[in-house]
């Protein structure tokens, strides 16, 4: 299970990577493994929407489940990964790279302080498995 450092993780399995002014968001390797083969991603937001922490980003559908991806921080959407429409399986194969979901400008970068570092998230996963 990959858990790259330099990213922040939520207990609800989203990750955020700060890149300059923007923050990129996606789901973790652990999450995609739980879902198994993703067949569809339905975004609940559009570019320029303002979202609050706790709002739904998207619903990710696999053959056996449909899970909601939640915003761990508030901000404004600047980009949505259109590639996921044709290739939802990228969430499985590249959850941290080509499988990014949205880019946003955060309202308050300190929202991220509540999130977990890579090692903390790994430990949390081990706890869940046990």
């Amino acid at each position: 299970m990959r858990t790259p450092t330099g990213l922040k993780y939520a207990k609800t399995d989203e990750w955020i990577k700060v890149e300059g002014d923007e923050a990129k968001l996606g789901i973790s390797d652990y999450a995609q493994d739980q879902l198994s083969d993703v067949v569809y991603v339905e975004f609940m937001v559009d570019v320029d929407d303002h979202v609050s922490k706790g709002d739904a980003v998207a619903t990710v559908e696999s053959v056996k489940a449909a899970s909601d991806v939640i915003f761990p921080a508030s901000g404004t959407i600047v980009a949505i990964n259109e590639d996921l429409a044709d290739a939802p399986e990228m969430l499985n194969s590249e959850p941290y790279e080509g499988g990014w979901m949205v880019k946003m400008v955060l309202d308050d970068p300190s929202d991220l302080d509540e999130m977990l570092e890579a090692e903390e998230y790994e430990a949390y996963n081990e706890e869940r498995e046990g």
């Binding site: 083969d37 067949v39 569809y40 559908e61 053959v63 939802p88 399986e89």
Partner: protein
Amino acid sequence: MTEATIYELSQPGRRGFKFPQLDVPLSAVPEEFAREEIHLPELSEQDVIRHFTNLSQLNYAIDSGFYPLGSCTMKYNPKINEVLARLPGFANTHPLQPIVSVQGNLYLMYQLQQWLQEISGFHRVSLSPAAGAHGEFVGALIIKKYHQVNQDTKRVKILIPDSAHGTNPATSSMSGFEVIALPSDARGNVDLEALKAECDDTLAGLMLTNPNTLGLFEENVVEVIQLVHNAGGLVYGDGANLNALLGMMRPGDVGFDIMHFNLHKTFSTPHGGGGPGSGPVGVSKALAEFLPSPIVTIIEEGNDDIPPFFGFYYPEQSIGRMKAFYGHFGVHIRAYTYIAMQGPEGLRDIAEKAVLNANYLMTKVKQDYYLPYDRSCMHEFVVEGVWDEIPDVHALDICKRLMDYGFHPPTNYFPLIVHEALMIEPTETESKQTLDAFAKAMAAIAKEAREDPTLLTKAPYTTPIGRCDEVKAARDLVLCCYIPE
């Protein structure tokens, strides 16, 4: 083994069914509306008969074998039901005929309403909902309207046990309620403390399945209902598991306010490969005026010489009309016939034998499969389809392997609160021999799992097709036949 599609069998120019020639002068069809072409198949009657006959033989059905699907009550469908539902005097009546010309239909529906009321202890029944989920929707809307009429607008919460069928929370959402899941305790009952915590003035109601989806009778049912009532809420009963209660207990007697029936489960009407069902709803006296319209009633009482005159009435505070016409009349006829052939003793016998069969099978099956709630069950029970020491084998694999033994698998992955759940409901129409054969197969499969797990993970081997690529089905969506130009 695959069968061609109707489009693949089609031959341009082949003519099957014909109507008589036109016997009136021709009127032109306005060109702006005339259809250019319609691509329907061109087949002979024998093509059609062979095609669908061959397709039917790829199916497993109750008529071919045992179907222990928990929560579905796959009991034997009596053939007399099929014959009587097809009587032309029923089948050829138009729903808008003057009521004086359909007194037979109205009499039958009225009697069925009365019998369902008597069986369940409810004050009034509407036969109109088309299926269980439809009946649930009716129930949720009745709860909503009841509180609205009482101007109790704070009541937005519906409580639903975590073991509930997915239609329960889906229905509640559709009705504009907030869904709160209630955990189950170690004995499989609704957790009373969790329930008490939610009993306040924001509580609209509780949806309860009894027996629940673990096949267990809710041991605190009276207290649970009282708690909700004391908080001003209503209790909705999901009647999917009524088979265990026929002649045993009437839900209305213990305080349920509303309940839906599944005629296609409890009352032997066929499942049809996915419907049609029928989901009548029964309510207490306080809720009678909220039922969906219309309901059959006696317009003029009869006497010794003249039968009563039946018609429709539209309850004053009805939630409205939930579908066209009066419900699935064709299904009502079947349920009527069934109840008429059971009588009070027969109904009680159904519950007794359903529960007997389930406990017998449970006693045998739990020897090889973990039973998380080890107490006397009602008409169904749930085991785990997994063994800690055999990580490669899951409930799904056991199900697939059962097909090679000639059985339809039980319900799997439901209820959600049991890990790798296998929900088994034998029903009362199965013989001891069938149950023994099934238990034997389950034991054999458990043995195979220990000795050669791949036998399960690659099963089934003897069915018309093998395991399907469901990911491909969802990713490369093909929802229609290819139609050659």
